[in-house]
Symmetry: D2
Subunit: 340 residues, 4 copies
């Protein structure tokens, strides 16, 4: 931590900051420049750093406090230099093989889900996705089948052998979802929900953590740190588009978040081109781009009849379109030394 | 709802859309332009509109679907033409008098809270704020005193007579907070948490709904509609800054959100200049601007010793600075025909 | 400037950076922490700092370079502690009195301009605005009357006695506009046009510098520094709304930019609520808020018949609505100790 | 154009709008819904549509005006269904082959440029880039060699046979740059500079139009329409990153802009991963992603000694790193059916 004193700071202001740092157990290093005096703070407990920085920032004689270390540790590359692989049922996500998770936005009925599950298996998906508890921005929208949806997902796993991933939206649903699903999804709207992060941090199933659509990469990794700090290091990160001034598509897919999150953490990073684009015709180019940029997998929405879907129809691929995309993805994956 | 057909749409595409709308109970109105055919859909159930629009949008022959009505009803000016006043304990928020809510970001100790409560009462605050359950972006930050914080707030109400507002962060805390607080705050990070919105919608206490820092005004009003649809119309909206490309301050205070939300809904709209700016020296100009633009109240963070605060010290005013600001606010309020 | 070395940096990397800094004339100050080594660079020529920082940043052993000083000098509060007043014809902008600039978006005809000029004078405007050279996003939009518009503005000044402000859009127009106008406006789209900034920096007339709609406050002040560095310190800053994810109004008015720019520079700062909102019904609340927050003036679009305006009709006030707003603004100005 | 009347609109308001549209030559189509009356306007001159829409929007009885057609024509897919190829010297950009433009950010000296030009030629670049007139955000930054830089570029073309692309920043430089360069670059900061767009629209050389970092895709295509409307249809679009709330990298690379611009226009679309990322370690993943998503080419900054570059060193590749990237790009290009 570096404390930059304001040009008006007096000797006694500088002493006050040095004393304050020493009291909290920091080593102190003073550097007097032509226009500013700078105080370096060395060591002390990590947990307190953010608070001490904030409290110093209150002092009028302090112009600015600059953090030196990143605000996440367990998930960082400094904690673990090699890339991690996360087991999801019988599948491994990360390192070499690309994992494609596919299925309907919402589980709507047994027939819809089974048709979809068999379609995506045939196309080459490794994991089946499907929403049972849906977060919706309007109270008048379809809210999901709930527990019944979960039961259908389990049946689909039995039929196809594919592990299942589904969103857990509310702390009260965690035990139930943890019992049945192979991978617990935290949705973008819940990335900042620290209670939910702690609950899934206490689960034995791996967690898929979507980036909030207005979260910086640093905040996303801090959310992963919440899960890790609660004991669960089996975390897969998922970039799904951020909100920007351009509303041509539903969100702006942030391709760079993939290599940046891979450089900053040891966790696998996948992409969700369906939510990022919101339109089925743009799912393929974003999926191709993500794989070429190094993504460890994809999450893609597939529906047997998108024009009858109860949610996200416009961004859903048919099983046929999905199979065709998988074909193209295999070529790109091979070109970057990955297999599917 | 207006359906704009693509230039390639055939007669049979147009018929298909007309039939689909008729099947769902809509009146249909066809208009053939030089370059596009347009189909107007009249009537039918509100609840289904968004879904039908989405499903039509899937059809390749449909270029775009334009919604005519707003996606919120109970909170809209069309549902109630006059401005609503919301009772909070013995205080009314909205219509004529300006309500200032003030107090510490977090309840930290009995002494800190009492000192603060008496300070803000003296300065002229109408409602005492204080966080017991804190949402934090890092697992290493102070998470609040929880139930003990709530008990201290109740004691502060007894001592000062000020009604209390505190954040409820998790569905499991709702019964407890509803029992003790006079106003339930939904924080910015939870604005999209539909489970929590429904729970407070079932409470008998009024709700303060902060705007998510990446929520459009429309999404914010849809979140209010969630609460209203669950039975609770005592809602106060609060603008607290949005995330933009400019990171000079913590957030960008969206002044226009105040008059826009007042034009679109009948609900009172207040401003939180403390979170918007993140720096105590900018709280006053934003507060002054909000009142002059027509805000129905303010929420301001006050701490007896900001340099020792366990959260948000840099944006906290001392009781003395708060009292001075209240003095200036009274002049501006009077200039726009409001009293405090 | 502080250089933060990466955890992998070797002794020879550290020496290389120290040598590099010494070669450029910097004093060097080394501080070894537990997890990082930090090198402070003291002194040397301002002009080279940004470049040296960039070049150091290329080295793999350097994690990050932190600038200590702001990238603008002549316009900063450190260069001049008191607020500056800028003379515009016979009017002074800044310090105590509030200056309102009003008039049509585009000069369309003699009759329109004269009617407008007399209307805004009667309402209490201090300066007449009017566009002769219009920047438009579509080639099919009205591009302004050009030189003829300038001639009409001069005639309106003769008739009303109000100084005139008009936009200069292209370096080739600078001599002509400088000859006739009292205040040269640089529009938001040209804030990054360094050639144009240099040209008006060489003029003897004051400059009104609008903030680019995607410019950080720092970039805006760097643009002002361009003008100042070319010799012209008579600069008025104007906040006119920024682009954000919320498209309810045309732009998001950044109220905080006013006090921030006033804290960082000695220049007067005014607000343009017309472009910020894009809708006449929101001009008044934003104007009121800006004055209460401390703006040194306003720029407001007025048109005798907004429904016939050739540009920006939806955000234009009629002369009657303008006069009513001025009435309300006088109360708010008085409440914050300013006069109009 | 569809006019949505407000719920308060009277019969005479509706008649007024119908009359107004008829006077401007539109066919009129009335549709009365349960809660709103809607007026469709059919036909009439394109040039006036935006203005008529704006003027109708001023009327209090009009709630909203919805445009049906896109605001660009000459560059649209409706004007030309097949993809266009743009000749640049002896190279064709667009359709099948991928064109890579590479070279230094700024031309700094003969030696630097020649070394760089030979390096990128060897690596497989098709076109040499280099800045002679540099737009900089600070007046204290290196502003480019100007005319001398142009002379050096011409010499490098003679030596290597590669066509050259360079930025033209000011209308006064257009004749000179048009005389020497093979491709005129309009930089991101000038995308909204309509005077400059018109000037290059009158040139006989093709134009590379970078997207403004805060421009919507629609505004970018309207800027291309400016050039086309002035007579020059040889336009290459270039996505180079947009400004968002996330400042981890210099800009956020908008991958989706590539397929969207290709769907909306017939123009070739390339990507600039160097400016998008601002850091050399992220150039490769973004470049790979862009090619997999269908980009028609790339623009990449290369410098023989990035740590001595006078601008953009941190994002520059060495010739060796560039050659290695080209190797990888060839595999991805082949996987998507393109050659380099």
């Amino acid at each position: 931590m570096i404390v930059i004193m304001s040009p008006q700071a007096t000797e006694s202001d500088i002493e006050q900051v040095q004393q304050l740092l020493a009291d909290r157990g920091y080593g102190v290093h003073l550097s007097r420049g032509v226009e500013r005096t700078i105080i370096g703070a060395i060591g002390a407990l990590d947990e307190e750093k953010a608070l001490v920085a904030e409290q110093l920032d209150v002092l009028p004689a302090v112009e600015r406090v600059v953090a030196i270390l990143k605000p996440y540790k367990l998930v960082s590359r400094e904690a673990r230099a090699e890339r991690s692989a996360v087991p999801v049922g019988n599948v491994e996500v990360g390192v070499q093989k690309l994992a494609v998770m596919a299925g309907p936005c919402s589980v709507e009925s047994e027939q819809q889900l089974m048709e979809c599950a068999e379609g995506v298996k045939e196309g080459g998906a490794a994991i089946l996705r499907g929403g049972a508890f849906k977060p919706r921005t309007s109270p008048y929208d379809f809210q999901g089948l709930g527990e019944e949806g979960l039961r259908l997902l389990v049946a689909a796993r039995e039929r196809t052998g594919l592990p299942i991933v589904t969103e857990v939206r509310d702390v009260r649903q965690v035990p139930l979802v943890n019992e049945h699903a192979d991978l617990l999804q935290i949705g973008a709207r819940n990335m900042h929900n620290s209670d939910l992060l702690k609950e899934v941090g206490g689960c034995d199933k791996p967690v898929l953590l979507k980036r909030g659509f207005a979260a910086t990469i640093e905040e996303w990794l801090k959310a992963a740190e919440y899960i890790a700090a609660a004991g669960n290091l089996n975390i897969i990160l998922c970039e799904r588009g951020i909100r920007t001034f351009d509303t041509t598509l539903r969100y702006t897919f942030d391709l760079s978040a993939i290599p940046v999150a891979q450089a900053e953490t040891h966790l696998p990073v996948i992409a969700d081109p369906s939510h990022a684009s919101g339109q089925s015709e743009y799912v393929a180019p974003l999926a191709m781009g993500a794989v070429a940029a190094g993504a460890d997998g994809l999450m893609i929405e597939v529906h047997p009849q998108p024009e009858r879907a109860l949610s996200d129809g416009p961004q859903s691929l048919t099983p046929t379109a999905f199979a065709k995309l998988m074909q193209q993805l295999r070529s790109v994956a091979a070109a970057v030394g990955r297999s599917m």
